[in-house]
């Protein structure tokens, strides 16, 4: 069983929901990445999503765009990234998800990239620009490596499409909460809640997580109360990392994560 699936089973038996925490690897620095991950793990994050930078992140808002550019400027490359992943994996058994864009995988070859990722300790992949129609080669390669493929759906995804996407999904299904890019802060819309509920009714094979624009305890609490199996927090972590001196980073991330995690219990 995959680490992600195991985690959801474990949470289910404890009647908890999953807190998924995103950071951009190498931003603001490599050592900050490692400190933040320690804080996330200690604070109770259930799954960690590791961003790998891409020059043209069309699904991301300003915060992650800036982090992406920063990470590239700090010299994050595939080899270095996986070296860091191995280091993280040696310290923790937490499920690790890699989030990047299709071209990064395509350029190396799906097979080769996914094999390297698996060997480094990555459990699942998220590619926001990998449409289901284009995913054949990617899915084959992932299946071969027993890599979970986490697809995104949107509040406007039609039911027949939703079923098709859910079928290709393993680990969990990622529902985008808002019409927009990552990090957009708005109130929680009724349309998101309705979409989440109807997605849960249609999708039975995998848990359903919600992400984009979730930045505080209140958001986490609300989504959990309306049925989310997981909540994903990203840009908020990056903002903390930008604004916290390194000596205090692990502690600050720990406290923030602990506050969020409490709302999933």
């Amino acid at each position: 069983m995959s680490r992600i699936k195991e985690k959801f089973n474990e949470l289910k038996s404890k009647k908890e929901k999953a807190l998924v925490s995103y950071i951009m690897v190498g931003y603001p620095s490599e050592s900050a990445t490692l400190s933040a991950i320690r804080g996330l793990v200690k604070g109770g994050a259930d799954i960690i999503e590791l961003g790998f930078p891409f020059s043209d992140p069309i699904a991301d808002g300003p915060v992650i765009q800036k982090a992406s550019t920063g990470s590239l400027n700090n010299g994050i490359k595939i080899e270095k990234f996986f070296k860091l992943v191995k280091k993280i994996r040696s310290e923790t058994n937490i499920p690790l998800i890699l989030m990047t864009y299709t071209n990064i995988l395509y350029k190396q070859g799906y097979q080769k990239f996914i094999k390297t990722a698996k060997n480094a300790g990555i459990d699942g992949l998220i590619l926001p620009d990998m449409a289901i129609e284009e995913s054949k080669g990617y899915l084959l390669a992932a299946k071969k490596q027993k890599m979970d493929t986490i697809f995104l759906v949107s509040p406007n995804t039609q039911k027949n499409r939703l079923s098709k996407i859910a079928k290709a999904t393993s680990g969990f299904l990622y529902m985008v909460a808002v019409f927009g890019t990552t990090g957009i802060q708005t109130k929680i819309h009724q349309y998101t809640i309705d979409a989440l509920k109807s997605t849960k009714r249609t999708v039975k094979n995998v848990p359903v997580g919600v992400g984009f624009g979730i930045s505080n305890e209140k958001d986490v609490k609300k989504y959990v109360s309306v049925g989310a199996d997981a909540v994903i927090v990203g840009s908020a972590n990056i903002k903390i990392m930008e604004n916290t001196p390194k000596s205090k980073l692990e502690g600050t991330v720990f406290r923030f994560t602990k506050k969020l995690k409490r709302q999933t219990k």
């Binding site: 043209d56 299709t102 071209n103 190396q108 449409a131 129609e133 284009e134 890019t181």
Partner: protein
């Protein structure tokens, strides 16, 4: 070899729709609506009327006698897209898509622009059809094409200066796509080149094919060679597509910048590798890690790291040859055409002129070359002036 409607949006290996899920319903809706109007006589009639009475079609095919004489060799014909309303071929596409948007009930139009020509053509079509236009333009491009920014504003469009990434066309597309993701219900994304996810490459090619179709009618016989410049490749695919099944030799010209052996060019077909950007699989300028590289060209309109997927297909099929012309050669061609014919070409189009000049002299006098002069060069005179100040060699020519 000729592909009408690409199955699954693919031209061979190229194209497809690599898009965030939020856009999937919008793309599906667009495809459905476009295929509906594609052969609808009422739509065609409406568009033809606008193209004739508003944009100024058909454009002349001009035998450049003085240039031909100066070069010696094949006859050089110019397809005068520079004479269209707005000064470039872009209006062929913006009128088509704006009419489609209107039929789809969309009131807000967004677009990206590089040199500003597509932005201006969008702003014009929107003013004419009573639609609201917002244009994304890289900060660097807004600086080097200030006049076009003001033109768009005069036409009632709102211009957003994009300060992310390399601050040029590719980033303007990124930002337009982000806007579309955010406002997907109310907004129509009017893409300006034959790039992006399916059905854009098909749609833009169809709307621009009026260029090649007119060339076929205006030339008494099929020309020996046709040449057009390629950035995203909309004027080129519009020129080439109707001639793919003919015997004509077809050549696309990319921006060679400071030379293909340097890092400063925009020639993904000449030296790029396959990859995925802006919703399509195509040849790209990218590094070994799959990061998109910054490009360079003296012409903002060709300064793009990708290219329309149908061009990638035609390259692999060896139906079209793709060559590159350097900035220096472009300036030479710009000056020569201006002097011999009294036609100031856009720097983009001057790439195609430069290549025609290169090969014409090796061809027979009975042979003919058609070059698509995709736009006029008024927008570029500042750039040329500055270039000449820096380059004494060219300065002497004035």
């Amino acid at each position: 070899m000729k592909i009408g409607i690409p199955k699954d949006g693919r031209f061979g290996d190229f194209g497809g729709k690599y898009i965030p899920e939020t856009l999937a319903p919008a793309i599906e809706d667009l495809e459905k609506n476009y295929l509906k109007i594609r052969n609808d006589p009422t739509f065609k009639k409406e568009l033809s009327k606008f193209l004739a009475e508003y944009a100024g079609r058909p454009t002349p095919l001009y035998l450049a006698k003085n240039l031909t004489k100066k070069i010696g060799g094949a006859k050089i014909y110019l397809k005068r897209e520079d004479l269209l309303h707005g000064g470039a071929h872009k209006i062929n596409n913006t009128l088509g898509q704006a009419l489609l948007a209107k039929r789809m009930g969309k009131k807000r139009i967004i677009a990206e622009t590089g040199a500003g020509q597509h932005g201006v053509a969008t702003a014009m079509a929107c003013a004419c059809l009573d639609l609201k236009a917002e244009i994304y333009m890289g900060y660097i491009d807004t600086e080097r094409q200030k006049q076009n920014v003001f033109r768009m504003e005069l036409l009632g469009a709102k211009v957003h200066s994009v300060k992310s990434g390399s601050q040029t066309l590719k980033d303007a597309i990124n930002e337009a796509m982000r806007d579309w993701i955010t406002n997907v219900d109310s907004t129509y994304y009017l893409l300006g080149s034959a790039v992006g996810p399916h059905p854009y490459p098909l749609m833009v090619r169809d709307f621009q094919s009026v260029i090649g179709n007119e060339i076929k009618k205006q030339m008494k016989k099929i020309p020996d060679t046709v040449i057009a410049c390629v950035g995203g490749g909309s004027n080129a695919i519009g020129t080439f597509y109707p001639l793919i099944d003919s015997k004509a030799e077809i050549i696309g010209i990319e921006a060679g910048g400071k030379g293909l052996n340097t890092l400063y060019h925009s020639a993904p077909l000449a030296v790029g590798t396959k990859g995925v950007l802006h919703g399509m699989m195509t040849y790209l300028m990218q590094d070994a890690q799959g990061q998109i590289q910054e490009t360079h060209s003296i012409s903002a309109g060709l300064d793009y790291p990708g290219v329309g997927p149908e061009h990638s297909y035609l390259k692999d099929e060896k139906r079209v040859k793709y060559k590159a012309i350097t900035d220096d050669e472009v300036i030479d061609a710009f000056l020569i055409l201006t002097r011999t014919e009294g036609i100031i070409p856009a720097l983009e189009s001057a790439h195609a002129i430069a290549y025609a000049m290169k090969i014409a002299k090796k061809m027979k006098r009975t042979q003919s070359i058609v070059v698509t002069l995709s736009g006029r060069g008024d927008k570029d005179i500042g750039i040329v002036q500055e270039y000449m100040k820096k380059n004494v060699k060219n300065k002497r020519k004035i």
